[in-house]
Amino acid sequence: MSDRWLAVAFISPALLLLLAMSVFPLLWALYLSFTDYSATRGGPAHFVGFENYTAILTSAQVHLRALTTLIYVVGAVTLQTVLGFAIAYLISRRTHGRGLLTTLFLVPMMLSQVVVGLFWRFMLDAQFGVINSMLGSLGLGQVEWLTRQRTALISLIVVDTWQWTPFIMLIALAGLTAVPKYLYEAASIDRASEWFRFRTITLPLVWPLLLIAVLFRAIEAFRLFDLVYILTSGGPGVSTETLSFHVYKVAFLGFNTGTASAYGILMVLVVIVLTQLYLRYLNKLKED
């Protein structure tokens, strides 16, 4: 068997699996998105052109969910980036116990979203939750964390931040430890201040790596479903209903499969376009 055929033999199982599990469903969804197909109602799928796409793009309900998702993504990712970098910076300056601290900080990230959701649902319970109990002992009033419009979205951001700050921290820590020590040594010879060293050495060198972490987190946050499902069910009303949660409802409550497929395709397109713009910025940064 030639090298070429050997390579084909090794690659083809994985390639076929990828085609069957990933590429084919995507193309299938793309096809369905141009039809009126419903998974439960059966019957043949009728071609409806761009009707589903037009309905989604002009829907006030979708616009509202897009805004909710945007607030969530920007809020959560910003908070996680600031906190993650700050923690990483503090840990990187320690010589003792760095490994233990890093491991401890990583624990939330290891937990499943469902466990985190249920755990925080109890923590944030207005009547019996630990958070309100602590606020009460400080003489502060009870907060309806999950049942008021503003606090519900803030709660989601806080919980997501609690779980995913370690991810940013981990990547930032990798960047921080990779900064060549001689740069700091040269700066200290020049009697550069701490702030100057941070601003001119640390941040510029870690920044590209941090931006990649932000990219990953933003894509993940854009797809937020589990926490919403468990913590708020999209409530109060639909005020924490994200795009992912809404597309789930379209797909599985109404079983409007064609519409849901178009919705999913649009979400993928948004991620691809934004990622491309972001990557261009990253490349530009690298060139500069």
Binding site: V23, Y37, G42, P44, V48, L146, R148, G235, P236
Partner: protein, 458 residues
């Protein structure tokens, strides 16, 4: 690029070939006579949501049914309440189910029937079930489709299920706080709760379902709507707009949001069955509403702070039918048993045999004694049922007062619209009027687009 084109071609071809099998949109018929049953080991699987009656059913069926069918094991698969509809209908969509007997909510029947997901049991029922033994309204609610406009059974209509568990709301009240006599009218109930809350710091006047998921907040609004003389829709003209948000509907929403909600515990805007039970068991509510089938745990001293014995708890807790106001309507709960159209033939035969066995008078009485709520009149009036729990008399007294929701294929979307909007009103995210008008408008949109297969899902 060539790869993508090829994949696209495959997808299109498969789409063209693969969707014809779903073209038929009527339920397949079950045989009138039960086919020969297998002697091989067989597991008969149910699907239900996770709550005490589901566990009671599995224990009861394995203890009793296996006396006759020793090769059969009963398995009741449970999912969280919020996943119940999806868990069943995603499997129906795949035309392959890991359950033989789906326990459908009464309002799910329309969707399952029009999609051909469950067997038409009309001939089977005629030959094997004594339909006269039931309250006709219950038989219709749990099995008939289309549902009769009056809610009464139409003897010529098709049957797709048989009752498994009857249910309605009971009012749970603290005898030690408000006295032995339960309030008789809704207005009286509100003022009693108000006084009780004022007299007992730390105890809220009311506890009821307000959550965003399942049908929690929707049933609460429907109940108040019914009591204050409102209607959910005009089933003849399929009109919701102008009906649910008429004067009676607005009064009901006003009562719910402005009079009842202020009497609930802070942060109770996401409470459902378990949270209401917990509030009662921990002595945190003067008056509460909950489904009867979920109320058994309230008498368990291990779960209650109201007493160390069942008797001590019953000294403090009373159970009564819902107060009336302009009408005396109560919500219909409970579910029926159905047979999956996608089960193997041997399992379908066993499912039919189980249903025939389960609906017998003496088995229904045993089911009642085991914690079930029967639908046969003789079992409902039996001492086995009435003595099994302090709330069972409430159910027996409520049967003639029940009102169901819309039994239509669009149910899942209609209830979601109502749930999210009532939840929004209860939690201050919308004004009561806006919430009600939005319900009417959005639900009407769903009904009007019902004939279209795509779209309308936003």
């Amino acid at each position: 690029m060539r790869l993508a084109t090829a994949a696209m071609l495959v997808a299109t071809t498969m789409a063209a070939c693969g969707q014809d099998d779903g073209a038929k949109a009527s339920a397949p018929k079950a045989p009138a006579t039960i086919p020969e049953l297998t002697k091989d080991p067989l597991t008969l699987s149910f699907i239900w949501f996770d709550w005490p009656p589901a566990h009671a059913l599995e224990a009861f069926a394995n203890a009793e049914y296996t006396k006759e069918r020793s090769n059969v094991t009963i398995k009741v698969n449970t999912v969280p309440n919020a996943n119940w509809h999806d868990a069943m209908f995603t499997q129906f969509a795949a035309h392959k189910t890991d359950f033989d007997i789906p326990i459908l909510d009464s309002q799910h029947i329309g969707e399952a029937v029009t999609n051909g997901n469950i067997l038409d049991l009309t001939d089977f029922v005629k030959k094997n079930i004594d339909v006269k033994a039931y309250n006709p309204y219950l038989l219709a609610a749990y099995g008939q489709y289309p549902q009769a406009e009056t809610g009464k059974r139409d003897e010529n209509a098709s049957m797709y299920g048989l009752p498994l568990l009857g249910d309605t709301w009971t009012m749970i009240y603290r005898k030690d706080l408000i006295g032995d006599k339960p309030p008789q009218t809704w207005d009286e109930m509100i003022s009693v709760a108000e006084k009780c809350q004022a007299d007992n710091p730390g105890v809220s006047g009311l506890a009821f379902h307000q959550a965003n998921g399942s049908d929690a907040a929707a049933v609460t609004y429907n109940t108040v709507n019914g009591v204050y003389g409102g209607n959910l829709w005009d089933s003849k003209t399929r009109k919701i707009e102008g009906v649910i948000n008429d004067t009676a509907g607005q009064e009901a929403m006003d009562v719910l949001v402005n009079k009842m909600k202020p009497l609930t515990a802070k942060g109770s805007g996401n409470w459902f069955i378990d949270e209401v039970n917990a509030a009662v068991a921990q002595g945190k509510a003067c008056i509460a509403f909950n489904w009867i089938a979920a109320s058994g745990g309230l008498l368990d001293p291990k779960q209650s702070t109201l007493g160390t014995t069942r008797e001590q708890i019953l000294d403090k807790l009373g159970f009564a039918t819902l107060p009336s106001q302009k009408t005396n309507l109560v919500p219909l709960g409970g579910m029926g048993m159905h047979v999956s159209a996608y089960s193997p033939a041997a399992n379908q035969a066993e499912a039919l045999n189980f249903m025939k066995w389960f609906e017998q008078a003496d088995i229904q009485k045993k089911w009642a004694a085991a914690g079930g709520v029967p639908s046969r009149t003789d079992a409902l009036e039996s001492p086995e049922f009435l003595n099994a729990g302090p709330f069972n008399q409430v159910y027996a007294d409520s049967v003639s007062r029940m009102r169901d929701m819309w039994n239509v294929p669009e149910y899942a979307r209609l209830v979601d619209i109502e749930n999210t909007n009532v939840n929004a009103a209860l939690n201050g995210a919308k004004t009561p009027k806006d919430a009600l008008d939005d319900i009417a408008k959005e639900q009407q949109g769903v009904l009007d687009s019902g004939s279209r297969k795509g779209g309308g899902g936003l």
